[in-house]
């Protein structure tokens, strides 16, 4: 009885995690008039469905040229960060605790320092940086900031990789080729998870993009919330579009993690 009560409570908490997302998706199909009707939140679940918010959101995203920047920058940054992390992190993987602690500390610091503290002096003091396209500057800053995180996320991969390095060395394979061919082939799902997580971090980022004038979908959201009146349906549609890749990444990463945990348990 106690056990089933705990499970029911747990299910309610899990529901609390999902309900806001579902409500956001539901409201993204609602018309502005119905969302701001006197019924308020009580009428949200019974409103008629319309796709006009998505049409308006997609038109606005295309008009402002935000789609390409939103898609290309995260993928480019994720690929660059991961390939550099695989090269750089191999040395860290072989190094001692101090090097690993430095990387962990840098990874945390990279997430804690405010974007304004990074971007403003770079833009002020380096004229050549200002002449580059915002997407390129943003991409370089993202790679620099996310690289310690990518290396840190790849640490378990390097541990698994090192377990098999001996066999590769005996068969005459160089360490670099071992990482590129054997380890990456065996643990591609883990690396895919890391790649998606890094891409998601860039996809979700707004401050650096805003400071550098790099137009993305995430950067558009705060500008839609105004004191003069908010187009709530449009805002929910943009937020939903922004959340779709996050949900897809969540599905992939959680299945990869489950597989990895099962694999680790099996090995143990």
């Amino acid at each position: 009885m106690l056990r089933s009560g705990r499970v029911v409570l747990l299910a309610c908490i899990a529901g609390l995690n999902v309900v806001p997302l579902l409500l956001m998706f539901k409201l993204s199909f609602g018309s502005q008039l119905e969302i701001i009707s006197p019924n308020g939140a009580a009428g949200w679940l019974t409103q008629t469905l319309t796709a006009e918010n998505y049409q308006a959101a997609i038109a606005r995203i295309q008009d402002q040229g935000r789609l390409i920047g939103s898609l290309v920058t995260p993928l480019g940054v994720a690929l660059a960060s991961l390939s550099l992390a695989l090269s750089f992190g191999r040395h860290i993987g072989n190094a001692g605790n101090r090097a690993r602690a430095t990387i962990a500390s840098s990874a945390l610091l990279a997430r804690v320092i405010p974007p304004a503290a990074i971007c403003l002096p770079l833009l002020r003091l380096f004229e050549p940086v200002r002449s580059l396209p915002p997407a390129v500057v943003a991409g370089l800053i993202y790679v620099g900031l996310l690289l310690p995180i990518a290396v840190w996320l790849c640490m378990p991969f390097f541990r698994l990789s090192r377990q098999r390095e001996g066999a590769s060395l005996v068969s005459g394979l160089e360490p670099e080729r071992h990482v590129a061919l054997v380890a990456a082939r065996d643990h591609w799902s883990y690396l895919l998870g890391v790649l998606l997580l890094i891409a998601l971090m860039v996809w979700n980022e707004t401050f650096i993009a805003s400071l550098l004038g790099h137009r993305t979908i995430a950067e558009m959201v705060p500008s839609l919330i105004t004191h003069r009146g908010t187009q709530w349906g449009l805002l929910m549609a943009v937020a939903s579009l922004l959340s779709i890749p996050a949900v897809v990444t969540w599905i992939i990463v959680t299945s990869v993690l489950t597989l990895t945990l099962r694999g680790a348990k099996h090995v143990a």
């Binding site: 806001p20 090269s87 405010p114 690289l147 979700n204």
Partner: protein
């Protein structure tokens, strides 16, 4: 092949230094000047910017809000994660609920904030239902104190699930052999808990608290979108938002750089201390195992 790998490693180092370390020194250098970035005029002021910061009420408020927010959010996150972790009966259940518990972690902060700014709207959202029921007007995002707590609770909502997974895993996965042998020996439940789950759970909760404390120092995107830049009377204007707006509010890059230097130093020290504690604990565990 070896040469190409070296080049990639050098490039990685250059990018990391340029993005993480270089801005600190640029901020330090700029903090000794009064710089008008729009007219490109600068004047040496020594420690003048730091002296001004010490008497700047908006800066002091931002520091106080950041500390309060980081502490409140870290404490609540740790407490909620313990409560949720206590509900998980075994590893099988944990494996089933873990994906749903960690879902909010993946969601974009600004999308979550946008959705909650509608849910918490005093005329359209959930407060309107309470207002209709009681006849009193409830305003969440229009009230300074409630805005601060709304931002804090939203952070807890987004992070507590992931933290609960870590705490539950620490509670259930550690000391299984010892737990089984204590049960076979007929030890009471609290003795089994004290000897097996308590040490690992305590470490996990402390880790969650410290990690959230440091991480929250730089939290700004979600609060900025939820409160439209810090809420009424800047009640939720954390340092991230303050720095983002300072250049436009004061028109002095040197002044902004002085604040950024201080914040940078605190964040770097906090990150280093957290990692040092984690490494120290892990090394201690390794030694005790050996």
């Amino acid at each position: 092949m070896r040469r190409r790998t070296s080049a990639a490693t050098v490039l990685a180092c250059v990018l990391m230094v340029a993005a993480v370390v270089l801005p600190f020194f640029l901020n330090v250098a700029s903090s000794f000047y009064a710089i008008n970035p729009f007219e490109k005029v600068s004047r040496f002021v020594g420690f003048g910017n730091f002296v001004l910061l010490a008497s700047d009420d908006s800066f002091k408020l931002a520091v106080s809000v950041t500390v309060r927010y980081a502490l409140a959010s870290a404490v609540l996150c740790a407490l909620v994660s313990v409560a949720v972790a206590a509900l998980v009966p075994d590893l099988t259940t944990l494996r089933r609920v873990a994906p749903v518990l960690c879902l909010p972690l993946f969601l974009p902060s600004v999308a979550v904030a946008a959705a909650f700014s509608l849910f918490l709207d005093s005329q359209l959202g959930i407060p309107a239902i309470f207002s209709a029921l009681t006849g009193e007007t409830y305003s969440v995002l229009g009230d300074p104190e409630r805005t601060f707590w709304a931002a804090t609770l939203l952070d807890v909502w987004q992070w507590a699930g992931g933290a609960a997974i870590a705490v539950a895993y620490a509670r259930l996965a550690s000391g299984q052999a010892l737990r089984d042998s204590l049960r076979v020996a007929g030890a009471p439940g609290f003795v089994v808990f004290r000897e097996t789950a308590l040490p690992s759970t305590t470490k996990a909760v402390v880790a969650v608290f410290l990690f959230r404390l440091v991480w929250n120092l730089g939290d700004a995107e979600r609060i900025n979108a939820l409160t439209s830049g810090g809420g009424p009377f800047a009640s939720a204007r954390v340092m991230g938002i303050w720095l983002d707006r300072a250049l436009f509010d004061y028109g002095d890059l040197g002044y902004t750089a002085a604040a950024a230097t201080l914040f940078y130093a605190v964040a770097a020290a906090a990150s280093a201390v957290l990692v040092w504690v984690a490494t120290h604990v892990r090394n201690g565990e390794d030694r005790s195992r050996a």
